[in-house]
């Protein structure tokens, strides 16, 4: 579904991504793990057009989408839940969700998506009228994912959904990610620092280190890989 070929991204003179290539097959959950600053977020931002790629290609459903502006990608069915959630703290929960369906013209379709999101995250329904800035971190993450689902995406990119969230909620959010993928055939590219969780829910994984992909394998094999174990799974 998504193919990245030899992607290079620079921040000024610093090279953030050095010719990375990866592919996400339709229907799968693929994860990208690595330490802070490895280039995980940069990869997602380059795919969704928030950053310009210097060279290389991003191909989505057979079509070259490299360096298209973000709002064009939404039309193609790509949704990106950015790092730090970036919910509109000045808008209500409902308005945030409606922003997610910004390009949908059909009111009935918007309401359908809305009831689906409320099904997945009943908490959001309870807080519908609340200003998003007053939600807890976990609730904001649910809102960010719910908002992305509102666009009825085919391909969902999630950037560190576990960041800054109570462990109990993290578990729940990851269950939801699996559910979204399974029940709605939404392909997921998951970026995580919590490699344990990420490898649990994904079928395939890439390990990113200082802008290069150093390992690519099925998630099960990566879990068993001694190098991954010692560096990302907390030793033992």
């Amino acid at each position: 579904m998504l193919e990245i070929k030899n992607l290079v991204v620079n921040y000024g003179v610093i090279t953030a991504l050095q010719e990375i290539s990866l592919s996400v097959p339709a229907g799968a959950i693929v994860t990208l793990i690595g330490a802070n600053g490895a280039g995980k977020t940069t990869t997602l931002r380059a795919v969704s057009g928030l950053l310009k790629a210097r060279t290389g290609e991003v191909i989505y459903e057979g079509r070259k989408i490299t360096n298209l502006p973000p709002h064009e990608l939404v039309k193609l069915g790509i949704a990106h839940v950015p790092e730090g959630r970036m919910v509109f703290a000045n808008l209500t929960v409902l308005e945030n969700l409606r922003m997610g369906a910004y390009l949908m013209k059909d009111r009935a379709a918007v309401n359908r998506e809305l009831s689906y999101v409320f099904d997945v995250f009943p908490r959001l329904k309870e807080r519908e009228k609340q200003i998003a800035g007053t939600l807890s971190g976990g609730e904001q993450q649910m809102l960010a994912i719910g908002r992305a689902l509102m666009s009825k995406p085919k391909f969902l990119m999630l950037d560190e959904p576990s960041l800054g969230i109570a462990p109990l909620l993290v578990q729940k959010i990851f269950e939801k990610i699996v559910e979204i993928n399974r029940d709605h055939k939404i392909t997921v590219l998951l970026v995580e620092q919590n490699a344990n969780l990420a490898l649990d829910v994904s079928s395939y994984g890439y390990v990113l280190e200082t802008g290069r992909i150093i390992l690519a394998d099925t998630s099960a094999s990566l879990r068993a890989n001694p190098q991954v174990k010692s560096a990302y799974l907390g030793g033992s």
């Binding site: 502006p69 709002h71 990106h80 950015p82 730090g84 509109f88 922003m99 800035g133």
Partner: protein, 302 residues
């Protein structure tokens, strides 16, 4: 009864400041810089009406409310286009540059418009009398006299404020404006074309400035290319007073500044110090509320 006269004058003056301040604050909201050319758009609005009035006068009876309405709408549309064009040509190419660069450019655009318009081939520097757009009528309340246009100004302003509130709070483009103001990148990820929202914001703010310019001209002795500087500066201060980026704040700041000025000017013996008194009070308020009356102190949440 003198205070009633002052109150109406102050409300009229303050309403004009409020309308202009909204444009400053809206642009600041989405782009985080002060569009100094905004005060010149208001001047262009007054001139647009000046040139349109005789044209409309050939079709409709002069000084009719319908004619005035048409003049105002067309002038607002012209200025909306000018505002959009200014952003497109001068500010958009600098979108990812430091804000100071854009700010200096805005001052440059402002000077360019002012001195181009002062050229004899354009408007010329002289002050011209502004035509009467609506029939002259005075209301007598006891011993005070209130001109109909002084009553009209706050009414028009209130209607425009209500309209703007509806646009911002109840429409999709208004929601997108608020989203872009909070986080442009996140808004882009929702499918919002940020450039379109920014153009819309400039258009809306410039249309309001044009209307404010016409209302200002109706109460002023005449119009000339530098006429926007004084009300523009005051409106900018009003926007800061209300809390820059905050729409109700801009309206409140404008009204407050207009009332302060008018009442300070009405105190016998010290009326020459009216600006001094008004601004001393402003400084005093800002000392205690640095973010403005309705502005929030932004704390970054990680």
């Amino acid at each position: 009864m003198d205070w009633l006269q002052q109150l109406i004058n102050g409300l009229a003056q303050g309403s004009i400041y409020a309308l202009i301040a909204l444009g400053y604050t809206m642009v600041y909201g989405v782009l985080r810089f002060i569009n100094f050319a905004h005060s010149d758009v208001l001047m262009l609005g007054a001139f647009a009406a000046f040139f349109l009035a005789p044209v409309v006068g050939t079709i409709l009876p002069p000084q009719s409310y319908l004619g005035a309405f048409i003049i105002v709408i067309v002038s607002a549309a012209i200025c909306a286009a000018i505002g959009i064009l200014i952003e497109r040509l001068a500010y958009r190419p600098l979108r990812n540059r430091p804000k100071l660069t854009v700010l200096i450019t805005a001052i440059g655009v402002s000077l360019l418009i002012e001195f181009t318009c002062q050229h004899n081939a354009v408007f010329g520097a002289r002050t011209r009398p502004f035509p009467r757009l609506i029939p002259e009528h005075n209301f007598h309340l006891g011993n005070i006299v209130i001109a109909n246009h002084d009553v009209l100004v706050p009414i028009v302003t209130a209607a425009l404020l209500a309209l703007l509130w509806l646009v911002v709070q109840r429409t999709k483009i208004g929601m997108a404006m608020r989203a872009v103001a909070f986080n442009p990148q996140a808004a882009a990820l929702m499918g919002v074309n940020i450039n379109r929202v920014i153009s819309f914001t400039f258009g809306l703010g410039s249309a309001l400035a044009a209307i404010a310019g016409i209302l200002y001209a109706m109460r002023a002795p005449g119009i000339e290319p530098l006429m926007g500087i004084q009300p523009g500066l005051r409106a900018f201060i009003a926007a800061v007073l209300g809390g820059i980026g905050n729409l109700p704040g801009a309206a409140l700041g404008g009204l407050l500044l207009g009332l302060l000025e008018t009442f300070a000017g009405g105190i016998p013996g010290i009326s020459n110090y009216r600006d001094g008194i008004a601004f001393a009070i402003l400084i005093f308020i800002l000392l205690f509320r640095p973010a403005g009356l309705l502005g929030e102190v932004k704390t970054e949440k990680v």
